[in-house]
Amino acid sequence: MIEIKNLVKYFGDNPVLRGVNLTIQTGECIVIIGRSGCGKSVLLKQLVGLLYPDSGEILIDGEDLTQMSEQEIYKTRRKFGVLFQSAALFDSMTVSENISLGLHEHTDLPETEIAAIVESKLRMVGLPGIENLKPAELSGGMRKRVGLARALAMDPKYVLYDEPTTGLDPIMADIINEMIMRLNQELDVTSIVVTHDMTSAYKVADRIVMLHRGLIIYDGTPEQVKNTDDPVVRQFIEGRAEGPIKPIPTSGVGSGNRRSI
């Protein structure tokens, strides 16, 4: 279970998260929706310690990530698989090397066993036989699926999806959605999906929360979201320019206190 308590994050003088409270139950698929730049990806990156919160707690299975040492954070990260918005494949490596990197780093498995895991993960995402291709040789949808295979290689407990369907055609987007649902059911993982694609959100979510102005302003099932009369949520899900949601100031976003390296 993941518990987020009063999470606050500033970039410069700009408050991105202003006290987020959220509990994610083990095994559920939760979708976080909100406008571009509202802090969804920032929230996601803080769950794996890629960004530091200014205050608040992030409890991963009861242990507070914000109080952990660097070594403990690395250990905790092994519970997570992350699919990045751009897939973020290592472009100097083959597909096989991308997927097996975590296994080579963290296990003593023999090469034959690692190759078998790579093959099974690629089969799982519907891309068997592409082990030796480089990321530059893959289409956008293939890159996302290889990114997903890499995220699943270490059999994570939690899988984070950052805009998994962005930039894909509707058919490929639906294939990714089906994959998220299947993995959630078959592998019994907890899925946290960040998106502004409502088709995707309705399809994969057990629960949808909306992030707006740095706060969770709505929490409900897909059916409840569809039928809500909350004006902010309605404007967002109907994709209307007119309504209570005003443009988000973006100055300073993306330049905050990242974990120093």
Partner: protein, 256 residues
Amino acid sequence: MSFLIANLGRAVIRFFTEAGEIFILLGKILAGYKGIYRDRQLLLDQLIVIGFNSLPIVLLVGTFTGAVSAWQTNYQIQNYVPIRFLGLATYKAVIIELGPVLTALMLAGRVGASIAAELGTMKVTEQIDALESLAINSVRYLAVPRFYAGIIMMPILAIFSDVIAIAGAWLVANVLLGIPSAIFFSEIQPRFNPYDVFAGLFKSVVFGAIICLIGCYIGFNTSGGAEGVGKATIRSFVLSAILILVFDYILATVFF
């Protein structure tokens, strides 16, 4: 006026912040020596990229460095100093100063800028975040092998540069200036001082550390897409070149 003071204050804060961050990165890299054996394949890859692949350009620069230093030394000393000292003067200049510094400046462009561009691209395309999300320490995986490959290969490249530069100087002296080999080398052998060689190679180690450290620091802190990567590349070269010249002066005052 207050605007100027505010800007100056911001610049000073930024300078000390960046200097502090560079030292923190250096500390983490130095502490990473413990994992070098485990990551020997990564180190080997970087030894080839930084060292072996740089050899042709280092040899080319070294040849012309020696050639021009012999030609110009001859011009400067011809009416004041006996010509048998040409070889010694060229050798000293090459071993102590020109070999290490020109090799380092060349590698600041070839290696340092390449590290900044590579890591910068990984940063803006979230590949470094992806590495971290796989519970792999990006400093250990990316910076440590590059840094240690840099400090190992720089003195080796400087030795190659020194040897080829002296050969270039001898060629110019012998073929173009008509100075016999026996005279060219006559003052080098009796006045050979291992301390000069040590000082030159020590400088190379420091320059190698500067080039790789700055390349990694700027790469890790790149933002702003393709434009940001371009700026990072330039910044890495400029900052490395400045620091090489500053540390060259500091080390000269320490050694000589």
